[in-house]
Symmetry: C2
Subunit: 235 residues, 2 copies
């Protein structure tokens, strides 16, 4: 199902300007463009598998992606999301460890693959890009710490409200305040570490409380301030 498509060019890639590559030199863009590969993925396809080695990074040209681990009981745990302009796979590449997580698409997606040699070349030759990578990794480490504290301390209800707000920040709302990503109840459960049934029940409550509106997998954030209060966020 993974099929080659017309390779989009980095020079004209709209995603680039939102990405960690936005500041690199034109010559460097050309080099990446020449060496990269590009693939189309259907909804739900796995991009890479936890435990494997990776020899480059993926840059998301279009589409949305979940990064997840499988726990000891075989249950999926979603670690983070990525979208157009984001890169994935760099953690394992830079640490020279096997992939700590898998990645799969949440919808049709186009991803470019940039080989390790080229990534390291840009890191070594472009100090600004280098610092940007350090900054990105550091930022994510801070986000991971906050997730750890929330998982350890907040009850399921608060975690669900908070993750809806997080999804809003990551994927943004459309003009009708719908979160611009469609996740199953099970996937929502796999973000916050709870049972699918708990998510279903709590979403119904949130709806009854006029915090959200539900239409299949589309969630409309009706009362964001209310959700912030339920999420117990004060910062």
């Amino acid at each position: 199902m993974k099929k080659k498509i017309e390779t989009p060019h980095c020079e004209t890639c709209g995603s680039r300007h939102k990405s960690v590559f936005c500041g690199i030199a034109s010559s460097e863009v050309k080099e990446i463009d020449a060496i990269k590969g590009c693939n189309f993925f259907d909804r739900g396809q796995v991009i890479f598998h936890e435990g494997n080695r990776i020899n480059g990074i993926y840059c998301i040209n279009s589409g949305k992606v979940k990064i997840f681990q499988i726990g000891s009981e075989g249950k999926e745990q979603i670690i983070r999301f990525a979208k157009e302009g984001d890169i994935i796979g760099y953690r394992a590449l830079l640490s020279e460890e096997p992939l700590s997580a898998s990645a799969a698409t949440l919808e049709e997606a186009t991803l470019c693959f940039i080989p390790k040699s080229q990534v390291l070349k840009v890191i070594q030759e472009n100090p600004a890009f280098n610092l940007k990578m350090l900054k990105m990794l550091s930022h994510e480490l801070g986000e991971a710490a906050r997730v750890i504290t929330d998982l350890a301390q907040k009850p399921v209800r608060e975690r669900l409200a908070e993750s809806l707000l997080l999804l809003k920040d990551t994927f943004e709302l459309d003009e009708e305040k719908n979160i611009q990503v469609k996740l199953s109840r099970e996937e929502l459960a796999n973000i916050i570490g709870t049972a699918t049934e708990s998510v279903i029940r709590l979403l119904s409550e949130f709806k009854k409380d006029k915090l959200i509106d539900i239409n299949g997998r589309t969630i409309k954030l009706v009362n964001i301030q209310g959700l912030v209060r339920v999420a117990n966020i004060f910062d």
Copy 2:
């Protein structure tokens, strides 16, 4: 209580050879040595405070440190530990964000402070050090992901067994198999996100099951394979 002591010299610092600094040039060591500051901390002293800005990194010359956040109900969540040779504070420095966590000593400690300018200088001028930083951040991100999955999916009993094994890996065992760090029951609870009483009860069970032995805050790992089994680790 924070008092200046005789500044240890980087050239002769035994910690350096275990640290991210182990490969840097002699001239760079001398430069750091000339510009760094050094402070002694008593047990339990806070080194830096979540939310503040930091203008350098601390390098642990001796002693053990916990890095923690305060959750929305005021409860401490321990994110990670650091010891002799480790650096702390680099996440906030590199991301140019406020500190995402606080740090406090678990015992008397000596820490050197290296100002931001000097850290960035070494990063920019020493590609090997640079890559080592990228590698360290990436590695930690992988560890954070594993913690997230465990907190989200494992029951308290498994998490406690696992964190004892993690403490073993971090601080090592003495010749009697005692974990080389002393933590209160509350601090153990703050690693795994549970109530202090639960830790107390489970430690007693582990002792009854001949997995560990307890002497005040000293925990002896009697049956490591058994703990691995209880922790439900298969990798």
